[in-house]
C-alpha cells in the first residue's frame, strides 16, 4: 500500500488502484455524514477534486492521487457513510481507478514513511 500526504491510501488490485482515506484522517474528521463520489467512467487528472466528504465538523475535498479513469465507486457509502469511520482501510474504500500512468504511484509514501508523518 502507498500513502499520500493528504492521508489517502492506494492499494493495487490487479490492474486497478483502490483508494480511500486512512484511519488517522477519518478519526480527525469525526463522524462522516455524507460522501459525494464521482461518476463511474469519469476521466480524472491528478489533483482534481473528485470526492467531497462531510463530517459533523467539516467538509473536505479528496483530490485524485493519480491520472486515470474511475472504474467503480463504493455505492454502499451513499447510505452508510459511517463505513469510512468503522473500516477506513477495508469496507470504507471510495473508488477504484484505472491508472493511465502507474509510475505516478512512486511519488507516494510507504506505510513506514506515513506512520512517521503522522507521528
Amino acid at each position: 500500500m502507498k500513502f499520500t500526504e493528504e492521508h489517502e491510501w492506494l492499494r493495487v488490485e490487479d490492474d486497478l488502484i483502490v483508494v480511500g482515506i486512512t484511519e488517522h484522517a477519518s478519526a480527525q474528521l469525526g463522524d462522516i455524514v455524507f460522501i459525494e463520489l464521482p461518476e463511474e467512467g469519469t476521466t480524472v487528472s491528478k489533483d482534481d477534486e473528485i470526492v467531497v466528504i462531510e463530517s459533523v465538523k467539516a467538509a473536505s475535498d479528496i483530490l485524485a492521487p493519480i491520472d486515470g479513469e474511475i472504474v467503480e465507486v463504493n455505492e454502499a457509502l451513499v447510505d452508510e457513510p459511517s463505513k469510512v469511520n468503522d473500516d477506513p482501510i477495508g469496507d470504507g474504500w471510495f473508488f477504484k481507478i484505472k491508472p493511465s500512468d502507474p509510475s505516478q504511484m512512486d511519488d507516494y509514501m510507504s506505510e513506514e514513511q506515513y506512520m512517521k508523518l503522522i507521528g
Binding site: 455524507f34 459525494e36 462531510e54 467539516a58 467538509a59 475535498d61
Partner: protein, 750 residues
Amino acid sequence: MPYTPTHYLPYDFANRRHIGPSPAEMDDMLKVVGAKSLDALIDETIPKSIRQKEPLDFGKPLSERKLLNHMRVTASKNKVLTSLIGQGYYGTVTPPVITRNILENPAWYTAYTPYQPEISQGRLEALLNFQTMVSDLTGLEVANASLLDEATACAEAMTMAQRVAKSKAGAFFVDESCHPQNIEVIKTRAKPLGIQVIVGDPDDLDAQQVFGAIFQYPGTHGHIRDFTDHVAALHEAKAIAVVAADPLALTLLKEPGAMGVDIAVGSTQRFGVPEGYGGPHAAYMATKDAYKRSMPGRIVGISIDAHGNKAYRLALQTREQHIRREKATSNVCTAQALLAVMASFYAVFHGPEGLKAIAQRIHRKTVRLAKGLEAAGFTVEPSAFFDTIIIDVGLLQRGVLQAAVNEGVNLRRVGKTKIGISLDERSGRATTEAVWRAFGIDRNDDDYTPEYRIPDTMQRQTAYLEHDVFHMNRAETEMMRYMRRLADRDLALDRAMIPLGSCTMKLNSAAEMMPVSWREFSLMHPFVPKDQAQGYAELIEDLCDKLCKITGYDGMSVQPNSGAQGEYAGLLTIAEYHAANGQGHRNVCLIPMSAHGTNPASAQMVGWKVIPVETAENGDIDVDDFRAKAEQYADHLAACMITYPSTHGVFEETVHEICQITHDNGGQVYIDGANLNAMVGLSRPGDLGGDVSHLNLHKTFAIPHGGGGPGMGPIGVKAHLIPFLPEQSGAVSAAPFGSASVLPISWAYC
C-alpha cells in the same frame, strides 16, 4: 466625562438617549482601555494617515419629532393609488395582529441570525412553519428558510440546476411568460458564468439543448399551463425543471410537485407582506430531497438537544458560504427572515381553508371583472386564469391607463396596445367598478353568481397545510399568545446586548422604524409611474448623496438586497468595466484568507478564480505575499477584495500600499464595507484607494437584523465605475430600488 442635564432633552435624537453607556460607564471603559478620552482613543487606534480631512457635516441634526415631521412631508409626496399592475407584486391584507406583534415588535425584528439555536427556538419554529408551508404548497419535499427575492431565487435555481443536472448542455431555457424582472436577473447572473439563456415559448423548447428550464406559473400575463409534458421531456434529456409559482395560486391549482418539477421558486409577498415599493419580501425555494445538498440558503431542521428533547437548528450548513467559501452553493448570507416569519404567520392565521377562500374570492372577482369587460365587447385573455387578465384595446391604451389613474387605479401597460389587470386580496367592488369606468363601462359589480375559469384538469387535488400548527385556534388573542410564546424563547436586542459584530452592534431606535409602517411607504407598488413616487425618489437621492459623502465614493446603487448581493453586484461592476476596456480576460481575484466567507463565494459567482493571500496570525494581510501574487497574475488580475478594518478589527496601515499594488497590476480594489461601523465620520474607503464598496444598511445604518433579514447592501463606486452599475449593465434584484421600504430607516439614521 462631563455632562449636563440638558443632554437628556426630551425627544432629542442621537444625543444621550441613543448612546447606550452612561457617562459614568464611559469613564470606566476609558479607564480600562487606558485612554484619556474618546477622541484620544480614536487618535490612538486609527492611523493618522487614513483619517478623513473634513468632518462629516449634514447640517444641524434633527430631533426625533422634527425628523418624523420631515419624513411625513417626504412621504406625502408619494401618491398611493390602488395598483393592479401585478407582475409579481400584489395587494395583500396584513392581519393587524402580525403587524403589531411581529413587524413592529423589537423582540422579532432585533433578533440575529439563528446560528445559536439555544437562544433562537422561537424564530426557528416560525421559519420551520415557513418551510413546511412552502413544501406543502409546492408539493416538493425540502424547502429553505427564504431567499432575497423571486428574481434572484430564479437565478439561484438556474445555477443549482446546472450543479445537479446530469445533462452537460450549456444552455438554460427561460419561459417568455416569466416576469420581466425575473428574466433580466437570470440573464445578468448567466452572463459571467458563460451560460447561454434561451427565452421562448415552452412549446418550442428543445430539451436536448438545455441543462434546465424555468417556467412561470401562472404566466406573467395570466396563463395557466400544465407543464407535466415539458417536465417529462426535460427529464428524458437529463435536464432539470424549475417553476416560478405564485403560492396563493397554488391553493387552487395543480402543484409543481404533481407535474414532476424539480425546483420551485417564488415570492411570499402576497402572504401578508406589503409591496413596500419593491421589498423587502421573502422568496422561497423548494426541491426534491435528492437535491437538498445543492440548495442555497438557510435550512431549519429538527434535531435533539443534550437531554434528548426535540430542538430546532440550522441544518446542512456545510453548503453555505461561511463554511465552504468559494465552493459554497451560493454566496447568500442574509436572507429575509423577518418577512418569512410574517408570511408563515399569515398561513398559520388563515390556515388552508382561509388561504383557499382568499384565492377563490380573488379568482371570482377577476372573473366578474372579465365578464363586465366582455359584456361591453372587449376580448379578455387568457381563457384560463387565476387573478390576471389582458385586454387588447388597440389605440385606446394611453387613454384607458390615464382614465384608470384618474379613478385612482394603476393598470399595467402591456406592449403597445394591451392592458394587464391583476386583482388581489384588497380588491373590492369599488375597485372593479373603477376599472370598468376606466374602460368606459358604467355598471355595478353586484352579480355574485360564482363562476370559475380554471379548467378541471388544472385544479389542485392534494391537501396541504395539514400540520396542527395551521389548524390552531385562530382567534386573534390565541395568535398573539403563540407569537409571544415563540418570542419568549429568543434572545434579541430587546433583552441584552449581542456583542457579535456589526450585525447586532448598531442603533435600533424606535423612531426610525415608525415610517416603515406608513401607507405612503408600504403600499407602493414598485412599478408605479415615477410621478407617483416622488417621495421615494427624494429620499433615495438624498440617502445616496449622504452615503457618498460618508464613504468618499461618487455614485451609489441601492439595488442589492444584502451585503453578499452587494459584493456580487460590485464585482460584476468591475467585470463590466474591464470588459468595456478590452480587458475582459481579467478573471483573477486576490482575497485574504481571513476574509468573510461571502467574499470568495461572490467572486466565484462572477466566474472569477479566487487566489487566497496569506494573512498573519493577527489577521493582517501579508503584503509581500500580496505583491508576489499580484505580480504573478498581473495579466489576469481583475480585483482584490479586502475588508477594512480587517475582520480582526485592525486598521492595517498597509492599506494604501495594497490598493496601489492592485492598481499597478491592472486590478480594481473592492473594499468590503461590513466594518464601516468603525469608520463612519473618521475615515472613508474611497479615500483609502477603494474603487467600490458595499455597505450593509442592516449593520451600520440601522436596519434591524430581523433574525436574518431584511438587509440592504448598496454599493458605492468611484466615478469611472458609475456607467457599469446594475442600473445600466444588468439588474441584480427584482425591484429597481431593492427593498425600498426599509431605506427610510437608514435615511432617518443619516
